[in-house]
Symmetry: C2
Amino acid sequence: MDDKEVITPRSKDYSQWYLDVVRAADMAEVAEVVKGCMVIKPHGYAIWEKIQRELDDRFKATGHHNAYFPLLIPESFMRKEADHVEGFAPEVAVVTHAGGKKLEEPYVIRPTSETIIGYFFAKWIESWRDLPLKVNQWANVMRWEMRTRLFLRTGEFLWQEGHTAHDNHEEAKEEVMRMLDVYADFAENVMAMPVIKGQKSEHEKFAGAVSTFCIEAMMQDGKALQAGTSHDLGQNFGKAFDVTFQNKEGKLDYVWQTSWGVSTRLIGGLIMTHSDDNGLVLPPKLAPIQAVIIPVCQKEADKERVMAAANALFSELKGAGVAVKLDDRDYLRPGAKYYEWERKGVCLRIELGPKDLDKNQVVIKGRIAEKKEFIPRENALNVVLNMLADMQKELLSRAKAYRDANIVSDIADYKGLSDLFAKENKFVYANWCGSPACEAKIQEENKATIRCIPLIGSEPTGPCVCCGGEGKHRVYIAKSY
Amino acid sequence: MDDKEVITPRSKDYSQWYLDVVRAADMAEVAEVVKGCMVIKPHGYAIWEKIQRELDDRFKATGHHNAYFPLLIPESFMRKEADHVEGFAPEVAVVTHAGGKKLEEPYVIRPTSETIIGYFFAKWIESWRDLPLKVNQWANVMRWEMRTRLFLRTGEFLWQEGHTAHDNHEEAKEEVMRMLDVYADFAENVMAMPVIKGQKSEHEKFAGAVSTFCIEAMMQDGKALQAGTSHDLGQNFGKAFDVTFQNKEGKLDYVWQTSWGVSTRLIGGLIMTHSDDNGLVLPPKLAPIQAVIIPVCQKEADKERVMAAANALFSELKGAGVAVKLDDRDYLRPGAKYYEWERKGVCLRIELGPKDLDKNQVVIKGRIAEKKEFIPRENALNVVLNMLADMQKELLSRAKAYRDANIVSDIADYKGLSDLFAKENKFVYANWCGSPACEAKIQEENKATIRCIPLIGSEPTGPCVCCGGEGKHRVYIAKSY
């Protein structure tokens, strides 16, 4: 086997396994000529398109409209919100020349669009009748990162950013939670990736927000992945960009804003939640190819009838809405095809040869099943549909079981915490006094952070795991991507 | 009426009419803080989403897969293809700093992606088995333009760019024509915008192409709009980026490439093909809102039954796949709503009041119809569906008739050509000797260009309209956007 084909086992080197899976499934590659950036290859992009379609439907169903704002932001805009510039200025890419000339004021490539959107909201909003204003943008953004990793952290990435303005704080806060729920529902019911909904600490919140809510997922190495965020921006950007409206009483006030986003990082989460040492595993709802039909035919004399049967099955499955592919390449042996599609995360493969035709059967192998199954031909469609539905459920319950088994709830003190993180990655569910000092100490000494104060189950059950002082919240602490 | 609400009549000032329609329909606005760029507002972006969906389905049906390549391109890449750099270098935006540091090599923001994609094709392609490679990218691109115009020419715009590689020139040329046909079919059958398919002159072809094909449409002011292009790149980029493959005979050769694209400029074409002095007119296949239901109800006592009937009609239309909106805003009079939706290009409006309920009817007014129609309630759905289908056809035949009436085929000599362009805008269908000198003279003295050598009807019928020398092609000459 070619060296570049090997998938390193997870137990040997989890980081290398991840990169190997991305490569073996032909999803993306490092664009080494553009620092920190990547090319998303067709098999990776097809997953992103499915993610987009599912999310976009949910955004529209909750009353949002898509729009498009400029890629470039005047550098001065970034300075208008004090926390925002501090958070983002160090990592922006700057356009200083254009059209052959030096620009009077440089532009930054958007790292996120609160500022430029704030500017336009100020132009568009006059009265309460213009509110709520609820837009979303699918776009590329750029953050100059030092240490990058395909899908998880790249200089340029694709995302969506929702931006809304409201005439009162309550409604804005409802929006923040509504979109957090949309993300959590999508993560669990489409990605089959269980998540914990929670609030970020003051230290971890978005630069410029009043508060940030997130969904956190556990990867197979026990680390946390922040998979989506929803921010209550309060009136911070409203004040910075003078976004005022006349309320029903005729008085001017600043709007209350929210923003929320998920990115191509979700694809990294998908890989690290489900995949195995044989390659990519995808939940059927996001698989670009759910079933592949592979004709197995050694004798030329059998070829015609096998291909006819394969084509008939293809049409039947396609007609029923299955994302099916017929692999009729004649320069590859069936074994090579099994191997390729397994690595690429096709949910199930169907083998069809002369003997199967004689027995009026098909052979089906699910991607996460242990054995092949021999299915009467007339049941093929039903079995395929059932296997896909079962796989969707199985992946979620498997991931949930894994996560729950790796949450440690009985850490008594700081020594226990340090000992644990010194030897393994888990979610530690422990009490915290709420002080930034303890948060900083935990992070510096253990490389683990407070992932979130969960929406459910944050009532303290004892003293702070760090200082022993009075517990204020029960939180999740973990190493993270 | 507020000054900012006026739509200047086309007869008075066509350019201002165009800008007024874009504003009145709330489609986009100039982002004056980002030179030459625009914000695409929800009503404009919704049209782009419909365009994307229709085109993307066609690209996939012809065997293309979407991918995503980096926004930034190393400046040195632009210089690898001599014609390409000459064409694009003057209008690129340049990133010189990032992450707080000056970059060793600047990046340009992609004006188009042949170079960066050529680089990756070289990595991905080894043998004829990897060909054809057919990818498409939906992306933002940037060209620093001096004179911009919403949708038609902006510093940043959204587009798709298809890029394919083939193992022989014939197949590449077939691809070029296939995608030109896809564009022409889309333009006529979805946009209801008739187009002339043709080849660009050497002078007008894409910087780096062997030949460029295009679709050209006539706007209502008689000017031409280049609505899409499809390029035969030959082996130019293959040689520049060393994209080689082993052919079936085991020899190394350079791949044959194509590229093709359409952009948000199509929305400008849509506006200028169909709209009128009352605002936007959209073909039903691209209208974000095909029908709007407006309850007409003065007395509070009638409100409940009118709203119940409006909701029932809404559900019926929506269930049948009509993009319908129920405008239940209670702070606007019906007349104000009619006015708003007319300007926004809703295909038809349905009025529903107590008297209509009593008569068991609905009142329907088509956007391009002269009069209201009174339709029995039980026929409403059928009439709506028929009106939408008819409108789609009517817009195309109306645009075709307009175009054909404004093609001048009997210009005998250069004086006739000059006299015509001195006083009006038409498509002049005339003979050309093929010389760059005549092409340049026509352009310099008349501000009109050879739009294309049509695929059908390019046989010369007489001497060159410019120099009187032997005619080589019959071509379309017009002023253009």
